[in-house]
């Protein structure tokens, strides 16, 4: 499929003319895009209220907080709260995004709605499609070449089908995107991309609810919010919502399961991981190059909002999933507990009167359940054992901590990620010289400043604006 045809399909299936935000260089007007192509907070709240989406409970995890304090120095061990997004109609925060995408598809008169996702987003879109009477197609990467499906993805397929959607499943491979585009062309369905402005606008209400509920329950805004990070939309939307609610001092932390070493396009590695999303396999590439997504300009731009980016191990997340059930009576899906594991680690560093919020949870069920995932891993020859989580090798072992003290989230070097972002940007427009506008844009993109950008660009060997023309002009005078 040639690139012009691709572009045409993408453009017509999303209904946004991205070209009007472009400067012709690297910079584009992100806020204008979000404002004009998105929906206002009020509109989103109205749409979500009608869709039965949002206003999920904020729960204080008192026993897990006590456990954290018992592993911390005296005076440390922040109060841990959980935003229970599993309470949404299809059991995850994706309902927020899907409600707006589906509303938009119907408003624009599309004959149906489609999404390429192996995750909870599929069920969320299918659920909204059912409510609005829209035909729905979900495309998943589900099976390896032996026909073995990841149990978590099979459960998601089941849910989508039971909500009336067609679920087209593929074996492993990046060709999924081209297949998906062909299907969009064939059906004329709306592409409910995760990366559109209105998709992200749908998540902003999560942030505003966090601010409101935290103030109500704890008398103060959240000190830290931890959001699982993969494609970046979860974190971006939540951060924007928090900022719109005046939470300028809230520290925004991203969390991903560390799966470095596994290849995301590998047929062999596909079923050797226990997490299909919320991991470094998406989190890092999408952070450093957001415009790799299925739309020309992604609305999900996590480096704009990240204050810290933590990784946790599969074993640590499974441990916390069990802890949540055993100590708080809450059975939730493991993928949705990635940020819980990171928050448990972080809480021990924080003063005990502070508030740390785990930004989401997801439903659990057959296939998704942590026992199902650990069984599956064992059957595949992955070593599941107790030990020091730091010993875990993705694809070979899952190491469950013996004691909660062993749960230690590890910081990714944000500076390096920001430099990597710039490196990718320079690759995209090889030989071009960044303008002043581009430099300001890069600073915004990476939550940094002009000085950092200039020195980073220099160290990356970026072409610099020639000062000769200025000197020539002075000589002529």
């Amino acid at each position: 499929m040639d690139s012009r045809r691709r572009e045409e399909i993408i453009r017509s299936s999303v209904g946004i003319d991205y070209s009007r935000f472009e400067s012709g260089s690297w910079a584009f007007d992100y806020e204008v895009m979000m404002e004009s192509a998105g929906y206002s907070l009020k509109e989103v709240q109205r749409i979500q209220a009608e869709a039965g989406v949002g206003k999920t409970p904020l729960l204080e995890l008192r026993n897990i907080s006590r456990l954290a304090r018992s592993c911390a120095e005296p005076g440390k061990g922040a109060r841990i709260f959980l935003k229970d997004e599993a309470a949404g109609p299809t059991g995850s925060f994706k309902d927020r995004r899907a409600s707006i995408s589906a509303f938009h598809a119907q408003k624009l008169g599309f004959p149906g709605i489609a999404a390429a996702t192996s995750g909870n987003y599929g069920a969320a879109v299918a659920g909204q499609a059912a409510r609005l009477g829209l035909p729905c197609l979900i495309v998943q990467e589900c099976f390896d070449s032996s026909g073995t499906g990841q149990p978590e993805i099979i459960e998601k397929a089941r849910k989508c089908e039971d909500l009336g959607a067609e679920v087209l499943q593929l074996s492993v491979g990046p060709e999924l995107f081209t297949v998906y585009l062909s299907l969009l062309e064939e059906t004329g369905f709306f592409n409910a991309s995760l990366y559109t402005p209105f998709g992200i606008a749908g998540v902003e209400t999560l942030g505003t609810e966090l601010a409101l509920q935290c103030r109500e329950l704890a008398g103060r805004p959240p000190d830290v919010v931890v959001a699982t990070n993969a494609g970046g939309g979860n974190l971006t939307g939540t951060a924007r919502g928090l900022l719109k609610s005046g939470c300028h001092r809230t520290i925004m932390v991203g969390a991903s399961v560390d799966l470095r070493g596994l290849h995301m396009a590998s047929d062999r590695d596909f079923n050797r991981k226990s997490f299909t999303t919320g991991h470094t396999g998406f989190g890092i590439p999408f952070a450093v190059f957001p415009d790799r997504s299925d739309v020309p300009r992604s609305a999900a731009r996590p480096l704009r909002y990240l204050d810290r980016y933590l990784t946790v191990r599969q074993g640590e997340v499974f441990y916390m999933t069990e802890a949540l059930a055993a100590l708080e009576g809450l059975e939730r899906g493991p993928a949705g507990n990635t940020s819980l594991a990171a928050a448990f680690s972080l809480a021990r560093e924080m003063p005990e009167e502070q508030i740390i919020i785990v930004q989401e949870s997801e439903y659990t069920g057959a296939g998704k359940h942590h026992r199902a995932q650990l069984s599956f891993a064992r059957e595949r020859g992955i070593e599941v054992r107790f030990g020091d989580p730091a010993e875990e090798v993705p694809g070979r072992s899952i190491v469950l901590p013996r004691e909660p003290e062993q749960i230690r989230a590890v910081d990714l070097d944000l500076m390096e990620l920001k430099k990597s972002y710039l490196r990718h940007a320079l690759e995209e427009r090889k030989g071009e010289t960044p303008t002043e506008e581009d430099i300001s844009y890069f600073a915004e993109e990476t939550k940094s400043g002009r000085d950092f950008i200039i020195s980073a660009l220099k160290s990356l060997g970026a072409p610099e604006k020639s000062t000769d023309t200025k000197r020539e002009k002075e000589q002529q005078r």
Partner: protein, 111 residues
């Protein structure tokens, strides 16, 4: 996880699962890991059998999917079942739970 075999013959209108090779290994995209490049890209989907009026597993059939698409492929399952479950016993999980409950009980008692 292997899927159950299911019924022997499908009649038009029955819910079935089909499969089709979309790309042979030699037709696959440029930069792929070796393990992926060696195997075909395969598609599976489900729908109501439309053509032929009766079919057995292995036959080439046409279906109408839930979103109204027509699709062709090899019939692989008739009235397919879901087999994913809550997993085998993983003793480590029970051990984690017991230890944590014990620990918190001790914390409570010591104030």
């Amino acid at each position: 996880m292997m899927t159950r075999i299911g019924k022997e013959e499908a009649k038009a209108g029955m819910w079935v699962r089909i499969s089709r090779v979309l790309l042979k290994p030699e037709e696959r995209s440029g930069r792929l890991p070796e393990a992926t490049r060696k195997v075909p890209l395969v598609m599976w989907t489900k729908g109501k059998l439309t053509e032929p009026p009766t079919a057995r597993r292995g036959d080439q059939v046409q279906i109408e999917s839930s979103c109204g698409r027509r699709e062709q492929g090899t019939l692989v399952e008739i009235e397919p079942a879901w087999n994913h479950n809550f997993g085998n016993t993983v003793p480590e999980l029970q051990q984690i739970a017991e230890k944590l409950r014990c620990r918190l009980r001790r914390e409570k008692n010591h104030g």
